[in-house]
């Protein structure tokens, strides 16, 4: 591989000052120093390239010769470090001389536990634990599709697995995509370790009339022409039961009426709201008397529904 131009490697201009070059080198070297990047071969290769480039341009004489074209970028390549780097020792048993102990200062407590586990292991496992590593079983993932009404009211449902049946309690108000965790119902633990959990993703099938938005339920509510013009009491069938609602006189299609607290339960005792969007429906098949009335009807206050659309 031909060596890259050292200025390019360091990301400086050929006319950069010594100070600029030093700063650029330090910045790159800090990022790629092999002892600061254990196990990262790429960083090591990059560091070598950076060190070789710096070796040329940090030396006045070599830099001048390179600039004059007397040596190429690899011409003065620094001989490989003849000694083994710190990490060569630190990764193995010799590194234990510099084992980190929290007494030295900075280990967070959970890290302490982690090290304690290894120290215990080193001291020889207690007799009862010799059987091998105890492991928690894996979590198992399932999905369960329920209908819209069940998602609002909640239910208990069976989920049949190949080897057993899980009883799933679906909380009232569960959302599409929500994940229920059944503790200990996943894969069996290994060597006496605890079982994993069963994670059940709830899918809510869409409903022909109801839509869920957050904790609110939306529906289109068909009303007759008379109800729309004159107002009146109607019964609204909601997932949580039918409620009666008063439609104010002169309610157009598209008017939204709120039924407070009739949405999806939130689990804390409160509930979202239900919103009914009125939809005026004419009599099916037409009504000759209505048609006759409208033909004879000369409104005293004509109106133009297109107003505002032009």
């Amino acid at each position: 591989m031909t060596a890259r131009n050292p200025y390019e490697v360091l990301g400086v201009k050929p006319e950069a000052s010594e100070e600029e070059i030093r700063a650029a080198y330090r910045k790159l070297a800090k990022k790629n120093h092999p002892d600061l990047n254990p196990g990262n071969k790429e960083a090591e290769a990059r560091f070598k390239e950076i060190a070789a480039a710096y070796d040329i341009v940090s030396d006045k004489e070599k830099r001048a010769r390179f600039d004059r074209g007397e040596i190429d970028a690899s011409g003065a390549e620094r001989p490989e470090h003849a000694y083994e780097r710190y990490r060569g020792f630190a990764e193995g048993a010799p590194g234990e001389r510099y084992e980190f102990h929290s007494a030295e200062g900075m280990a967070p407590e959970d890290m302490d536990d982690l090290f304690a586990f290894f120290r215990g292991a080193r001291g020889g496992a207690a007799a009862g634990e010799r059987g091998g590593l105890k492991l928690r079983g894996a979590d198992l993932h399932f999905s369960l599709t329920i209908d819209f009404l069940t998602s609002i009211t909640g239910a208990r449902q069976q989920l049949s697995l190949t080897d057993r049946t899980l009883e799933v309690t679906i909380p009232a108000g569960v959302r599409d995509g929500q994940i229920l965790r059944l503790k200990g119902q996943g894969a069996r633990g290994i060597n006496g370790g605890p079982n994993g959990d069963a994670l059940i993703e709830i899918r809510v099938a869409p409903h022909p009339f109801f839509r869920r938005e957050g904790d609110d339920i939306h529906l289109d509510l068909p009303v007759t022409l008379a109800e729309a013009v004159l107002g009146g009491k109607v019964t609204v069938p909601l997932p949580t039961g039918s409620v009666s609602m008063t439609i104010p006189a002169h309610s157009n299609t598209g008017r939204v009426l709120r039924l407070k607290g009739k949405g999806a339960p939130r689990g804390d005792g409160s509930s979202g709201d239900a919103f009914a969007t009125l939809k005026v429906v004419l009599p099916e098949g037409g009504d000759p008397e209505l048609a006759k009335f409208l033909r004879d009807w000369a409104p005293k206050h004509p109106y133009d529904p297109w107003r505002g659309m032009t």
């Binding site: 330090r26 630190a90 980190f100 900075m106 280990a107 890290m111 982690l114 492991l135 894996a138």
Partner: protein
């Protein structure tokens, strides 16, 4: 294993006084015997590392213990991980498979 002066000769460009301070700070921890300090290879490599950190990477003596502390943590973890890895390799295939599955490495198929 080499002594104090030999380390200075080997490294070059390092004052005795400075190395003594590093030892006093416990950044380098050679053993001692009646003749003086005894440096293992790992200690020599560590002296080199500290010299590079100090002078090539311009990490000052205030920041150095922080850097070394973090490095020691990283290497401690990596040694422990290596041991864990070796221990897992000795476990029955069923357990290794369960671990692989748990760690999400099953995608590659039979490896």
């Amino acid at each position: 294993m080499i002594g104090f002066d030999a380390v200075l000769r080997l490294i070059g460009d390092l004052q005795a006084e400075e190395l003594r301070r590093w030892i006093a700070e416990r950044w380098v921890r050679p053993e001692s015997d009646p003749q003086g300090y005894v440096f293992h290879e790992v200690d020599v490599a560590r002296v080199r590392l500290i010299r590079e950190l100090r002078y090539e990477l311009a990490i000052d003596e205030e920041a150095l213990p922080v850097v070394l502390g973090l490095l020691d943590q990283v290497y401690s973890l990596r040694r422990h991980l290596a041991r864990l890895h070796a221990a897992i390799d000795e476990q029955p295939p069923e357990l290794r498979a369960a671990l692989r599955a748990r760690l999400g490495e099953e995608k590659g198929g039979v490896g």
